[in-house]
Symmetry: C2
Subunit: 445 residues, 2 copies
């Protein structure tokens, strides 16, 4: 709470009082500065960032959301930009370049020192979306024939620019990975024990693997880092646990946004321009509303039925609401399970069979509970229509909600896109058809 | 892909072929075994777990979802349970105890060795939901007066049972934390440099802080671990980055489930009993459907209007669908921003003002685009009703969707509970009222 109020107080300092701003800014930690920049308008953000000393500017910049980083860059003078880009870690630099317009990225790449240029160009050579672009090429390897003492000495000498020194792939001059050893195990061992005795079989990640799959493996295996290798098992980089966690966090942000029917903003909400917020929502909204014109067509088709029994109209929003909710529940559960790897496309029949039963149980219970109140309100025949409809819609919605994310994954479409809102809309239209067909059959109209 | 098919092949081995099962099981890594156990039925799961040698059983057990861990425990003999519990890390043990019935947890606690009993009882003394229950009490501290060489020697001697040796709080016999130093910095320094020269100011987390807030700080600050202190700044434990990441992952799983209108399952989908899946959804479904009976009441109130212009009925599902989608988009965005700390309850007016404009822009655009098609279909007067309604509902839905999660957080209710489905249901009823009122005014009925 003390911390919260420091941040609040900070926001009350006027933009014109540069010395007070600077002093307050330097009292904050890097991640607090990141939070401050994410809550402020572009003009104040540019002023604040320019107040940061060089080394802290790099650390803060590396932690900004990609959308925001591009924004900040645009507000700096060219020589400052060049220095900042030079000081970034190669993997953070590639992440930024992927965000910038191609010609800007190219210009920045050409401005780098030869050494950093090479590291960056190597990463940029891997396919977009592959872990090759997100790994660090700055690792230390040790030899299997070294003693623990020698390996530690090697780390002391070579470790300065490495991203981590705690996880050490074991590889010779061919760079073929034969093992991995943790610094901790080297330190705890007798100094003359060999690396070969201390190393364990490494989890290897292919450099072409999709970034999210690779990150999930590292996090699931709870490893401090993992070796990334090319198709001949040669070491090309390391993926650290914290980079893996941050890849998964972006993927989850994307899933969460799409589950709610919008595209991810890629920057903190309060820092985004209004038009960016609108843009992140407008496409999906239009798709969903366009799809829902189906409901107009369905009602138009059955307008004779509706005219004969206007009481049917009373329950339409409630019925399609129930269907939409049951479908969303199933879709969210399965989308999440897919992301976690708990469920795979080959499980589609198992999932379908489970969801059919779950949907029937949910819809059936709901229908039975509502039967008596509905009977008192509109009579036994319509109450029966409602019971049959809600049980049918429930079964249908759960099955569709469970199966569609799996189908999407099998077709290599992001399951989150076709989840909750998509399924609600689909269930709306089919639910209406079911309702009117049951009504016609039961009421004999 | 190779890995995937190993797992698939594993699932084809019959449960009766114990020696084949054991051999295939031992060829898997710990996290792969966790995945296998999460996809199988309770009987096979119990058999597989019993086939694991003791040390691997502990490693696998620590990684199981809490719901599943309780299940596995129930299938073991008492002496095996006692050994397993004794071998767990204290923080994992407390996580498990929180999941088990109180009397079972108590019995297991009493069965521990004196040393493990004390570590566990200390953690259990902190409030449920506080980081005190999730930190590790097994840390190493160093003295500010030590040289780098002495500190490394101290780590070598004392580090065996510590959860991490890479992050070392600096504290004397009073346990008041005066700094923190990374093992990497000790190793890179001259051996006679003092810890006081190498240490930096630590990020301190209070032992009573809510676990999610504490975890978010560690992950945001990208620290390998963080010292946890009591109210007098005395060291009581460490929170490691991977434990913090796993706390956030559970919180996100909970948010994702609730955003879809169900409670989290707390175990992999395929391993859960059907009734557990139904139970996770039924309560919210009933709440949402009960709330949606409001729509019946609204339509009943305006039934005279509906009778006079049956064409109005055609558009009801589409209109409330659009309102629900706009509300869900806003709610999901704000719920997520709250979880990330990008938005705070004090920002409610800023959020409200943004969402009012975003909603008006979305609803207005949608209405204008639909105006001509609607005019051709049902005439200019109803098309005007639709335009005005969708603009109003859009504004209302976005504002409500943005404000309600903030209100919930201010009232200490989980924002995810009241997000998407709750807001759709609310918007359904109010949207209908808006629709009928506009229709009455424009059509003069």
């Amino acid at each position: 709470m003390a911390e919260q109020s420091t941040l609040d107080a900070f926001e009350d300092i006027p933009i014109t009082d540069l010395s007070a701003l600077r002093e307050a800014l330097l009292a904050l930690r890097d991640h607090e500065i990141v939070a401050v920049l994410g809550r402020t308008d572009p003009r104040r953000r540019a002023v604040l960032f320019r107040l940061l000393p060089k080394d802290r500017a790099v650390a803060v910049f590396e932690d900004l959301d990609p959308g925001l980083a591009g924004d900040v860059l645009g507000a700096l003078r060219d020589e400052r930009v060049g220095q900042l880009i030079e000081d970034l870690d190669p993997d953070d630099r590639v992440l930024l370049f992927d965000e910038l317009p191609a010609n800007v990225a190219k210009k920045l790449l050409l401005g780098l020192s030869p050494e950093e240029h090479e590291l960056t160009a190597t990463l940029l050579g891997y396919a977009i979306g592959s872990i090759g672009r997100r790994m660090t090429p700055e690792y230390i390897k040790v030899l299997a024939t070294m003693t623990a003492g020698e390996a530690i000495e090697h780390v002391r000498r070579a470790g300065k620019s490495a991203e981590t020194v705690y996880y050490l792939p074991v590889a010779g001059s061919t760079r073929i990975v034969v093992g991995a050893v943790e610094l901790r195990d080297l330190l705890m061992a007798e100094p003359d024990a060999t690396v070969a005795d201390l190393m364990h079989e490494p989890l290897l990640i292919s450099v072409n693997e999709p970034e999210e799959d690779a990150a999930r493996k590292v996090v699931d295996a709870d490893l401090i880092a993992t070796a990334v290798v090319d198709s001949e098992s040669r070491l090309v980089g390391l993926l650290t646990f914290d980079d893996a966690a941050s890849i998964l966090a972006s993927a989850e942000a994307e899933d969460a946004a799409r589950t709610g029917g919008s595209e991810p903003l890629r920057q903190p909400y309060l820092s985004a321009r209004l038009i960016a917020v609108v843009r992140s929502r407008v496409v999906w909204l239009f798709v969903l509303v366009a799809a829902s014109t189906l409901t107009v067509a369905v009602q138009d088709t059955f307008s004779a039925t509706l005219e004969q029994s206007l009481a049917l109209a009373l329950f339409i929003p409630m019925l399609i609401g129930a269907g939409g909710n049951i479908g969303s529940q199933a879709a969210t559960t399965i989308t999440r399970s897919l992301a976690l790897g708990d469920v795979r496309p080959r499980d589609i029949l198992r999932v379908l069979f489970r969801e059919l039963r779950v949907g029937l149980m949910l819809g059936g219970t709901l229908g039975l509970i509502g039967f008596v109140p509905a009977m008192l309100l509109v009579g036994a025949d319509i109450a029966l229509v409602l019971l049959l409809t809600v049980a049918s819609i429930g079964t249908l919605a759960a099955a569709v909600g469970g199966a569609i994310p799996l189908g999407a994954r099998a077709l290599r479409v992001d399951p989150a896109i076709v989840s909750a809102p998509f399924i609600s809309t689909f269930v709306d239209a089919t639910g209406l058809v079911v309702y009117f067909l049951i009504a016609k059959a039961v009421l004999g109209i």
